[in-house]
């Protein structure tokens, strides 16, 4: 592929000091994720997949190696520059949704626009409403998180991640707090965004079946990549949802 990959890392290392002990969370990771990919990062806890995601998300800086995001070396960026990169180029979805309590869905989605280049209030509202519309919550703009189900809350979080039109969407165990049907729903949204908008999605999960919704699975173990494969029989969330509902009716 000729195009610049969204993520290109070379020999990436990360070492933490926990007390007197040095924890080598990443021990030299090299990898490229082209534009429009849907990648699942798997591995047991402590394998380095979360550390990698934090580095990829510019929440932290690597100890060694090079990280190029959309062709730009961000591995030596200042904290201030990293904040700007997070704001414009990256969207996060977390396991615990991390919505602001007692704040309406639309205000939650507007949040990233408050920290970027100034956006007029009216435009902010329009864009946030469009993002919520895209995840199927167009009718619940003024609902507060405690009035929404887990799946709906995660969809608000996805809308928030999308609102600044990032090139990269990072999802950290996004289905960890959801039941199976809602998990399929959320994965369906990711698949649709990936297919329709060409957004690059990197998903961290420890559930093997969730990884099968992606097109590529990268397995981490002991701070290194141990597995990098294409998904041969990719799961289609749209199909499964229809089957799921048909089964429910039959029973």
């Amino acid at each position: 592929m000729n195009e610049t990959p969204v993520i290109a890392v070379h020999d990436l290392t990360k070492t933490y000091a926990v007390g007197d002990i040095e924890v080598r969370a990443l021990r030299g990771v090299s990898l490229q994720i082209p534009r429009g990919s849907f990648v699942a990062l798997t591995g047991p806890s402590g394998s380095g997949k979360s550390t990698f995601m934090h580095l990829a998300g510019c929440l932290d800086r690597p100890t060694g190696g090079v990280y190029e995001l959309n062709g730009r070396d961000v591995s030596r960026f200042s904290k201030r520059e990293l904040a700007m990169v997070r704001n414009r180029e990256i969207g996060f979805v977390f396991q615990g949704f991390n919505l602001l309590a007692r704040t309406s869905a639309i205000e939650n989605v507007e949040l990233p626009m408050l920290y970027g280049p100034p956006v007029p209030a009216r435009e902010r509202h329009r864009r946030a409403a469009a993002a919520l519309e895209a995840v199927g919550l167009g009718g619940r703009l003024d609902h507060h998180p405690n009035q929404l189900s887990g799946g709906q809350q995660q969809r608000v979080a996805i809308a928030r991640a999308l609102v600044n039109e990032p090139t990269l969407l990072l999802a950290d165990e996004p289905t960890g707090n959801l039941d199976s049907r809602t998990s399929i729903e959320v994965m369906g949204i990711f698949q649709r965004l990936n297919a329709e908008r060409g957004i690059t999605i990197v998903l961290v999960t420890h559930e093997p079946d969730i990884a099968e919704y992606a097109t590529r699975v990268i397995g981490f173990r002991d701070g290194r990549i141990r597995l990098d494969r294409r998904v041969l029989q990719r799961r289609d969330a749209g199909d499964e949802l229809r089957k799921f509902d048909a089964q429910g009716e039959a029973a």
Binding site: R80, A83, L100, L111, Y115
Partner: protein, 406 residues
Amino acid sequence: MSPITTLSIAVTALRRNAMRTALTALGMIIGVAAVIVMVAIGHGAQSSIESRIRSAGTNVVTISAGSNAFGPVRQGFGNTTTLTPEDARAITDDVPGIDYVSPGVNTRQQVVAEAANWNTQIQGAGADLPAIRAWSLEFGSFFTEQDVSRAEKVAVLGGIARDELFGPGTDPTGATIRIGNQPFRVTGVLARKGQAAMGPDQDDTVVVPYTTVQKKLLGITHLQSITLSVANGVSFQTVSPRITDLLRTRHGLAPEDPDDFSIRSLEEMATVLTSTTTTMTWLLASIAAVSLLVGGIGIMNIMLVSVTERTREIGLRLSVGARDFDVLLQFLVEAVVLSLTGGAIGVAAGFAASMAVSRIMGWTAVVTGDAVLMSFGFAAAVGVFFGFYPARKAAALDPIAALRYE
């Protein structure tokens, strides 16, 4: 982030915990209100002292016979006999800018009326005393220049002396009282003036011609004091050295001799008293300011709790692109909004309390603009000062740790 957005985020966050916000603000409210009330009471005291001094007349100058040194022995004020009625006349004639002059000789005697007796101050004065002290009469008239030159046994009663001798509100004009066993005819009663700024009640007095006190009561020829009033627009500072020169020459003092008299004006006294009450006001205000400080510590405490509670929120804000500075500002603005809201309510409460104090206690309490500004500014400073540490703590959070915080 625009300032308005920052402000609205802070206000929203504060409203989410309305009860806690109210209690924290209460510390500031009490602090600011206390400062305002204390300063108001201080200013009230000051202005009431000033008005009393003004009632005695700030253009009044008093010359007292001074101490005299006989070799090493120095006597107290009023013990020299060098101050004379001729000095008073010379001042009238030779010093420009003087309206009225009244020689003074005082004594304390038992005064006996028909039904009662009373020990009071017998004030020997000239006929111009009412003009100098702006003293009007309730009944009758003051004694005249002729009474003075003839040393007539006439007396004008002060309000209290009249009350004690004849009963409150009575008009004893024409009655006879006895001072030192000599009969005096009462010619009038002075209108009440009230307590002097410092010293005895001005109404507890009997005024008689100074010549009468000299000849009939004390048997002296010198004066204890000369009271005079300076013309409008003439200052004490210009008159004082002229009088000093004149009296030194008349008393034949050598240049190295100290003055055998002293010159004071009420204006000068007013300045001293005002500066005293100013000191008191500041003392009261600084005691009250301690409660502002305590209020500030309350704000810091709550902000620290708030930062801990909202660690995940901070993590999220950082992950969507907030800079450290944005987080710092958010919490700082919250603290300042909290302290300023408390300050504003405190100003209102201070106003109300000052009015209540002056209504109930009968004190004058004057709320001044600078007290309001000062306590409001102090409240803002407290917010910034005590809000900074928690805000910096919030801004220093690691985004990953903050996102995972349980």
